[in-house]
Amino acid sequence: MTPIIKASKVTFTYPAKVTALRDINLELNEDEVTAIIGQNGSGKTTLVKHFNGLLKPTKGEVLVEGKDTRDLTTAQLSKIVGYVFQDPDDQLFMSKVYEEVAFGPKNLGFKGKELKSSVKNALKMVGLWESRKKHPLDMNLNDKKLVTMASIIAMKPDVIILDEPTNGQDHQGIVKVESLINKLRKEHTVIIISHNMELVSKVADRVVMMYDSRVIFEGSPKKAFTKKKLLNKTYLKPPLITQLGQGVKGMPSDVLTINELVKELQKVSK
C-alpha cells in the first residue's frame, strides 16, 4: 500500500531560529487513525502543519498522495488535507455558523446543491445543524471546536487532522469527539494530536510518539503504553487504568479500559 502522506528526512526551522523538527521519517497509511503524542513543544503541531502545506520543510520533503507539498498550492492541498486548529478562536471568523462552515467549500469552488449538501452533512455529523444560525463566537468551547471541525469536514478532504480535539471539553464533549472520529474513519484518514491518553487508546490504530523535535516511536497504542523507558523519558503516562494494572503483579501491562481491568481482576481473584 502506498502511504497517503510520506515525510522523508524532514527538518524545519522557524524564522526565529528554533528548530522544531529534526530528520523526521514517517509514513501514514490511508484509512488509519494515527495519534501523535508528545510533550508540550515537542513538535506535534509543527509536523502536522507540514501535511497541509501551512509550513514547508527547511530540508527534506513531504509527499501528499505522492506529490511534493512544495509543488502544490495551498488550495490544491486543502482539497486533500484539512487541518483543524488547536485553538478554535484562531480559525473562526464568520458571524453565522452556517457561513463559517460554507466558507471553505465555497473557496474550493463548491456551488449550488453540492455546497448545500456538504455543509448540511458536515453540520449534521457534528450534531450542530440546529445551531446553524448562531454566532460561532457566542458558543461554548465544546461547540466552537465542533464548528471548526465541521468547516473542515465540509471541504471533503481525504485526510483530516484534529489538533487537540478534546482540549478544554467536558465529558459530553469528549464523548461527541470520540464518536465523530469513529464516523470520520469510515471515509477519511484521520490524524489526531492529543494529551488525552484515554481517547488515544480508544480511537487510534497507530501511535506516533514525539520527543524533542524527533519521532521516537511508532506502533499500536498497546505497544506504546508498555514502553516504560520511552514514556518516562518523554514524561508521558499511559491511561490511568493502564497505570493501575501495571501496578498489579502478574497482570498484563497493556490493560487499557475499565472492563479489561475488571476481567483481569476476575481471573486473579479466582
Binding site: 522557524y14 526565529a16 528554533v18 508528545g38 510533550q39 508540550n40 513543544g41 506535534k44 503541531t45 488547536q86 485553538d87 478562536d89 484562531d90 461554548n140 468551547l141 465544546n142 461547540d143 487537540e164 482540549n167 478544554g168 471539553q169 467536558d170 465529558h171 459530553q172 464533549g173 494529551h195 484515554e198 514524561y235 508521558l236 503516562k237 490511568l240 487504568i241 493501575l244 501496578g247 498489579v248 503483579k249 475499565i258 472492563n259 481491568l261 475488571v262 481482576l265 476476575q266 486473579v268 481473584s269
Partner: protein, 283 residues
C-alpha cells in the same frame, strides 16, 4: 471569614433574556480551596470572570444581588482595583497574553511594572517564576512564537507572578502535557498551603479529589450544591444527574462492586484504588 461572598447574585449578558448566573449564594473562606465542576455551558467560565470584575465592567449586562471580594463590592470597584487582589487565569492563553512584552520575560514583568514594583524585586520574581513553571528554554522568545502548551504556561506564570490573595483558575491545564499539568497543580497546592484562596474550575476530577476542600456543582446557570470534596465527588447519582462523569477510580470501584469482587465504599483517588485492588487480589 468569607473573602468571597455571593449574595442572591444573578448576571444577564446584554442582549440575552435568561441569566447566565442565577441567584448564586456562596461564601468562600479565606485560604479555602474550592473546586468548581459542571458541564461546559453551565456558567462556570462566567462565574470565574465575576470575581475580577470583568463582569460587569468589561462585558455589558445586568447584575442583581451582590458580590463582595476581599471587602470590595465588585459592582462598585474597578478591574484595576480588583486585580491587585484577584488573579484570573483563563482557559485560552490567547485571551491572557497582552503582547505588551516582546519576550516571555517582559510579558511576565509587564503587570509588575504597572504596579510600580522596583526593578530589582521585579527581576527576582521573574527569574523565580521562569524556573517554577519551566520556561527557561524559551524565556527570551516572543510569547507568540511558542507551542500551545508553552503559551498556556506563560499565561499562568503572568498571573501567579502578581501574587494575588485570591486565585481564580478557569480550566488552566487544558493544553498541558502530564508533566506540565502536575507542575501547575503542585504549584497551586503550595499556594493553597500558604493561605492563598483558590477557586479552580476544572474537568480533571482526579486532581480536585486530591486537593480541594470543598466542591461546587454548577448546572444550567445555577449553583446546585456545595459540600466537602469527597462527599460531592463520590456522590455518583448527584454527579450523573448534573452531567458529570465520576473519576475513573470511582467508575472502577462501581464495576467491581457490581461484579461482586469488592465490598466497600466507592474509590475516589489513586490511593483508594490501589488499596481496593490489593483487597480484590488477596481474596
Amino acid at each position: 471569614m468569607a473573602i468571597v461572598k455571593f449574595k442572591d447574585f444573578s448576571w444577564t449578558y446584554q442582549g440575552y433574556k435568561k441569566p447566565t448566573l442565577r441567584n448564586i449564594n456562596l461564601s468562600v473562606k479565606e485560604g479555602e480551596f474550592l473546586g468548581v465542576i459542571g458541564r461546559v455551558g453551565s456558567g462556570r467560565s462566567t462565574f470565574c470572570m465575576t470575581m475580577l470584575g470583568l463582569i460587569p465592567h468589561f462585558f455589558p449586562g445586568r447584575i442583581k444581588g451582590e458580590l463582595v471580594v476581599d471587602g470590595l463590592s465588585v459592582e462598585e470597584s474597578s478591574i484595576a482595583e480588583l486585580s491587585t487582589r484577584v488573579g484570573l487565569i483563563f482557559q485560552s492563553p490567547d485571551t491572557q497574553l497582552t503582547g505588551a512584552g516582546t519576550t516571555v520575560e517582559e510579558e511576565l514583568a509587564f503587570g509588575l511594572e504597572n504596579l510600580g514594583v522596583p526593578q530589582k524585586e521585579m527581576n527576582k520574581r521573574v527569574k523565580k517564576m521562569v524556573k517554577l513553571i519551566g520556561l527557561e528554554s524559551f524565556r527570551n522568545r516572543s510569547p507568540f512564537e511558542l507551542s500551545g502548551g508553552q503559551q498556556q504556561k506563560v499565561a499562568i506564570a503572568s498571573v501567579l507572578i502578581m501574587q494575588p490573595r485570591i486565585l481564580v483558575l478557569d480550566e488552566p491545564t487544558a493544553q498541558l502535557d502530564p508533566l506540565g499539568t502536575s507542575q501547575v497543580f503542585d504549584l497551586i497546592k503550595k499556594l493553597a498551603k500558604k493561605g492563598i484562596t483558590i477557586i479552580l474550575n476544572t474537568q480533571k476530577i482526579n486532581y480536585l479529589a486530591e486537593f480541594a476542600d470543598r466542591v461546587a456543582i454548577l448546572n444550567k446557570n445555577k449553583l446546585v450544591k456545595v459540600d466537602k470534596a469527597r462527599k460531592i465527588l463520590t456522590d455518583v447519582k448527584l454527579l450523573r444527574r448534573n452531567g458529570i462523569i465520576p473519576s475513573v477510580y470511582t467508575q472502577l470501584s462501581e464495576q467491581l462492586i457490581k461484579e461482586g469482587l469488592y465490598k466497600g465504599s466507592l474509590c475516589l483517588t489513586l490511593g483508594d484504588a490501589k488499596k481496593m485492588i490489593k483487597k480484590v487480589v488477596k481474596k
